[in-house]
Symmetry: C2
C-alpha cells in the first residue's frame, strides 16, 4: 500500500478512526440500546456537529504507524482503542471533578446520573479492549497483538495511578511539589500519548531502537502538551485547542501555581495560598494570582519546560531515522498545532 | 504435576489466589501507595480477618482447570484476573447503589469519597488485565492467552450491558419483565461465572466440545446462583453465603417480585406495586409483600427455575466427560454449598 497526500490528510484519518469506533458502539440488542447511545453521545458520534474531541491520541498513533509503513489503515483498531480508553477516563474524570460541561455540552453524569455515567465509562473501557482484537483479524501476529495489549494494560494502570495522585492532592492539603507534579502528569497524560505512538511504531516494525525512539517522542510530547495546556489555562492565547483560561478561577493547581508556591517570595506565597483557599473567583483575585505567578517566574519556567520537552520530542523523532517525509510533516504539524509554547 | 487431596483443598486454592492477587496490588511507588492500599482494603487483603469474599469465581475457574489437568497452579493468573474484575464491578456497584456497607465494613466510597472509589475501581479493572499477562510467563501460547483475553473482554462488555439494564430499570419506571430479568442476570452474573469456568477449561484443553460443556456448566450455574441469591434475599434460610433476607426492605426487584407483578391477582399486583413505591420498610409491610409473593406462586417458580438451571449445570459437567473425580467432587461441593434451592 502506498501513501498519497490524500491518504495522510488528517481529516481522513479522523473519519476512518470514527468509523472504526462506530463499529463498536453501534446498537447491539434492543435491551441495551441506551448504553450505546450514551457512548455515542459522549464520543460526539451521535450526529451532533462540532462536539467531538481533537482525536489527538489516535491521530498520533496512526501517523506513527504510517510514518514507517506508508499507510495508516491497518493501525485503525489501535487508534480506536486509545480514543475509547481516553474517553473512558474523561467520563469518569467529569464525575470525579464535578464538571457539568464538556465541549460545550452537558456531561454524561448530568444527563443520566452518576450511576449510569460510571457504568458507561466502564463500557468505553471494556470496548477499548475489544477494539484491539480486530488487529488479529487484520493479520497481525498473536505475539504482536499481545505485546500491544500489555503496553495498553500497563498504561491504564499508570493512568489510574496518576488520577489517584491528582484527586489525593486536590482534595486534601497533601503537599504537591514540582517533582510530584511531573510524576503525576507522566502517569496521567504522557503515558497514554506515549503508548499510542509506541503502539503505532511497534505494529509497524520489529526494530526495538525505532520503537524506543517513538516511545520517547510520545513521552516528551505528552509532557509538553500538558505544560502547554497549563499555560493556556492561565494566560490564554486562544488556540485551535479551544482551551479557555479558566484554571485560576477554578483554582486548579497546575505547574505554574505549584512552582510559585515553591519559589515565590514569602509574602507572595502566603497571599497565593490564601487566594487559593478562598474560592470566590472575582476578576481582581484572578488578576492578583496571575501577578504573583508572573513575579515568581512561573510563566517563564513553565514555558521553558514546555519548549524543552517539545524539542526533545522532535529530536527523538529525528533520531528514529525511518520516518517518511510526508508523515513527518504531519507529525510536526500536530506538534506545532498542539504546542504553541 | 499430579493431584493430591491436599492440593485441591479449597482453602489452599483461595490462599494461592490471594497470593497471586497480592503480587499485583502490593505497593509500587511512594507516590501511589494510597491507591494500592484502597485495593487491598476492598479485596479484604489488608490483614483484616473475615472480610474477604467467597472467591467463588476464581475457585470455579481453578477447579475447572484442575478437573482436566490435575493441578490448579498454572491457572492462577486467570483466577486473579476474574476476582479482580469481579471486585472492580463491586466497587462501582457500591457507588451506583449507594451501599454504605459490604462484608460488614464501610464501602470504599464512604471512606475515600466517590472520586477515589471510582478511580480505585478503574485500577482493579486495569490490574485484572495485567494479571492475565503472567499466563505468557507460565508458558501458555500467545494464541491461547489472546483467546482468553477476548473471552474476558467480551464478558466485561456483557457485564456493563447487564449493569445498564439494572440501573435503567431500577431508577425509572421502565417496565421490567421476567424475560428482561433473565436477559439482565445472564449479562450481569452468569457471563462472568461462565467465563471463569470456560477460561479454566480452555487453558486446560484444545477440545472445543469440552470447552463448550464447561461454558454451559458455568452459564447455568451462574443463573442458578443468582436465583438462589434472590430466594435467600427474601425468604432467608441463612446460608454459608452470609446472605441476609433484606431484599424486600430494600425494595430490590428480584425475580420473585417481577414474577408476582406479572402473575399475581389484580388486587395483589396493585397492592404490591403500591408497597414498592412506598419506601417505608415496616415489618408489617415486608410481611405483606412476602404473603403476596407466596400467594402468586413466586417462591415456587423461582425455586423451580433455580433447580432447573442447577440440574442443567450438573448435566453439562457430566457431559464434558473428562472431569477428574476429585475435582468433580469439589465442583459439586461448591454447587451444593452455593445453591441450596
Amino acid at each position: 500500500m502506498s501513501t498519497t497526500a490524500h491518504e495522510l490528510d488528517l481529516g481522513q484519518l479522523i473519519a476512518d478512526t470514527e468509523e472504526e469506533i462506530l463499529r463498536l458502539v453501534r446498537d447491539h440488542d434492543p435491551s441495551t440500546v441506551g448504553v450505546y447511545e450514551q457512548c455515542r453521545y459522549h464520543l460526539g458520534l451521535d450526529g451532533s456537529t462540532g462536539v467531538s474531541g481533537k482525536r489527538m491520541r489516535p491521530l498520533l498513533g496512526l501517523l506513527a504507524y504510517a510514518s514507517i509503513t506508508g499507510d495508516h489503515r491497518a493501525a485503525l483498531p489501535g487508534a480506536a482503542a486509545v480514543e475509547l480508553g481516553h474517553n473512558f477516563s474523561l467520563v469518569h474524570d467529569d464525575i470525579e471533578d464535578g464538571d457539568s460541561e464538556r465541549r460545550h455540552r452537558p456531561t454524561l453524569w448530568t444527563l443520566h446520573g452518576i450511576p449510569q455515567a460510571i457504568n458507561t465509562g466502564d463500557m468505553l473501557f471494556s470496548l477499548s479492549r475489544v477494539a484491539l482484537h480486530r488487529l488479529t483479524d487484520l493479520g497481525f501476529s498473536d505475539h504482536k497483538v499481545l505485546r500491544l495489549m500489555r503496553l495498553y494494560d500497563e498504561t491504564c494502570v499508570a493512568l489510574c495511578e496518576g488520577q489517584y495522585i491528582d484527586i489525593a492532592t486536590s482534595e486534601a492539603d497533601t503537599a504537591m511539589s514540582v517533582e510530584l507534579y511531573f510524576d503525576m502528569i507522566g502517569r496521567k497524560t504522557a503515558a497514554l500519548i506515549a503508548a499510542s505512538i509506541e503502539a503505532g511504531a511497534l505494529l509497524a516494525t520489529d526494530d526495538e531502537k525505532v520503537i524506543a525512539h517513538y516511545r520517547n517522542f510520545g513521552w516528551d510530547l505528552g509532557l509538553a502538551f500538558q505544560l502547554n495546556d497549563d499555560l493556556l489555562g492561565i494566560w490564554g492565547e486562544e488556540q485551535a485547542t479551544g482551551k479557555e483560561p479558566t484554571d485560576v478561577a477554578r483554582r486548579k493547581k497546575t505547574l505554574p501555581v505549584i512552582y510559585a508556591i515553591e519559589h515565590a517570595s514569602a509574602p507572595d506565597r502566603a497571599r497565593l495560598m490564601e487566594l487559593y483557599r478562598d474560592h470566590a473567583a472575582t476578576g481582581a483575585a484572578i488578576q492578583e494570582v496571575i501577578d504573583i505567578l508572573d513575579r515568581s517566574g512561573a510563566h517563564e519556567y513553565t514555558r521553558e519546560q514546555a519548549r524543552l520537552h517539545r524539542d526533545r520530542a522532535l529530536a527523538e523523532l529525528d533520531a528514529a531515522g525511518v520516518v517518511l517525509p510526508e508523515a513527518r510533516a504531519r507529525l510536526h504539524e500536530i506538534v506545532v498545532r498542539v504546542i504553541a509554547a
